[in-house]
Amino acid sequence: MSATLVVAAVEDRAALAIESLSLSFGGVMALSGIDLTVAPGEIRAVIGPNGAGKSSLINVVSGLYRPDHGRVWLGGRSFAAVPTDRLAALGVARTFQNLALFKGLSVLDNVAVGLNHGFRAGVFAQIAGLPGARRERAAAQERAAAVLDFFHLTDMRDRLVGTLSYGVQKRVELARAVVARPRLLLLDEPMAGMTLTEKRELTGFIRAIRDELQATIVLIEHDIGVVMGLSDRVAVLDYGRLIGDGTPEAIRANQAVIDAYLGVAHDLEAGEGI
């Protein structure tokens, strides 16, 4: 009993805490015994080779996967399985590794629909155009427009997202994630497939999101250069286990991490000039 209380006291101060989390798919362990605490306002990277369980971790935190064991703490509450339907209300937002935009909606509507969950007006009020519904909608559009401005997307607000380039779509997805001012933002490979310039720009955006929203950010990223420059702390996964957790400098010096991951990355660096 007292142990739980102590844990609760610790987790209260964390934006996200993961407690002895395990997840398996038909006998294959995707995550085993993960403990991780993310402090408020922190940018925390999660790195690791392919198949290390990084995306699984984010999918558990956003409730898409139900873990076999362990708990997830969000904003001082603990869940055996995070309710995805309440994620937005809990102040958690995420992006997806593959684009997950609404192709049939304009850029503005893709972002504005991220505010739907806070609406009080029902569908009849919206059809009838009652004052409350109009006010909510106007406020949502205004907020969405401001976010588009922040991400330099204003010129494209009325375009269908399906017609935009990959890099721009990634930015729209980020805009949709932050429009509801989340306290915790989960980014699954936000830089994947981007050019160097786009990566640099996105790094700036992620820092700005943290500073402006005082949000906590957890990001999965492969580009070690980006990770080391951007994150406050780095967690390293390998075969579903947490093999390192600390500041970028500490991670650079961690022998287990070098063996599992960075060694490979250095080879790549020589070859590809990351």
């Binding site: 994620l87 609404f102 629909v113 991220g114 059809i127």
Partner: protein, 355 residues
Amino acid sequence: MSDIAIKTGRRSLPGLSPQAFGVAALLAIAFGVVPLVGSEYLFDALLTPFLVLSLAGLGLNLLTGYTGQVSLGSSAFMAVGAYAACNLAFRLPGLPFLVDLVAAGVIAAAVGLVFGLPSLRLRGFYLAVSTLAAQFFVQWVFNKIGWFSNDSASGIVTPPPLSIAGIAVTSPVGRYLFTLSVVVAVTALVWRLVRSPTGSALIAVRDHETAARVIGIPVLRTKLLAFAVSSFVIGIAGVLWAFAYLRNVEPAGFNLDRSFQILFIVIIGGLASLRGAFLGAALIVIFPLGLARLGDALLGGLFDSGVLEMSQRVVLGLLIIVFLIAEPAGLSALVDRMTRRITPWITPWITAGRA
């Protein structure tokens, strides 16, 4: 209506956009010119069924085009609307017809909600098959339970003559105008819905269910809402079919063929487009007549009704394949491309007209 027309063009031009101008002009012609010049045949055989099928297509488009839930049970909801309105009219004769109309729509919505429940678990092909259950179950109920058809031996019910606010609507042009008014009113409501935040939610559920759930859209509720509203609109279409077009109701009139017809209207017209439902219905209604004329002119006596019906199916089938391959966005997209080409030519003309 002008209110709606103006809002359509809020982004392009101050005042009337070409698109809004088009809608306003069409409405003016439909309400002001057609009733004066049309023939009885035009109203009863072409325009009224066209309008009713457009409305049914509109209803299905909300569900299939906007929300991405395929349904093969549309005519079942038409049947529910038609029988509900007939029974309300017979059993509660004191109620004004407009109340019957809305109540029948609400009953169809309730039935649609029930048959929408499988959509919470099933997707795509499996959901489509489960909506067939609605089709067969509803038809069976109306065949089997005499209470719904006033115990008529043939199962055919003749609804009481149409009467709005004490004024009997007996002429073909009257029925056309009534149908037109209802279709315009319901279309305006649907237009408001698809442009509202809830309309965005429908599309979000269609395009990426997981992402929609993550950003807090109640996916299950949104799907059920789509089923209910879609069935409401289709139910209203059923009432019009029974009271303004055929003026009798039988279960066989709402069979699977009719459900497919409505689905074809949506596919040919264009998914997720209000205009598409009207274009698709126009094609479906005019096409058999045009084919009959053409066959008659080319083949004369050889082209009897049997050949006509066969060739109709063949050509329609081909048409759907062609649309699915060449223009999945339907007639609506074709018209879009055409208007975009014409707009630069007529815009100055409209602007000059207003000045």
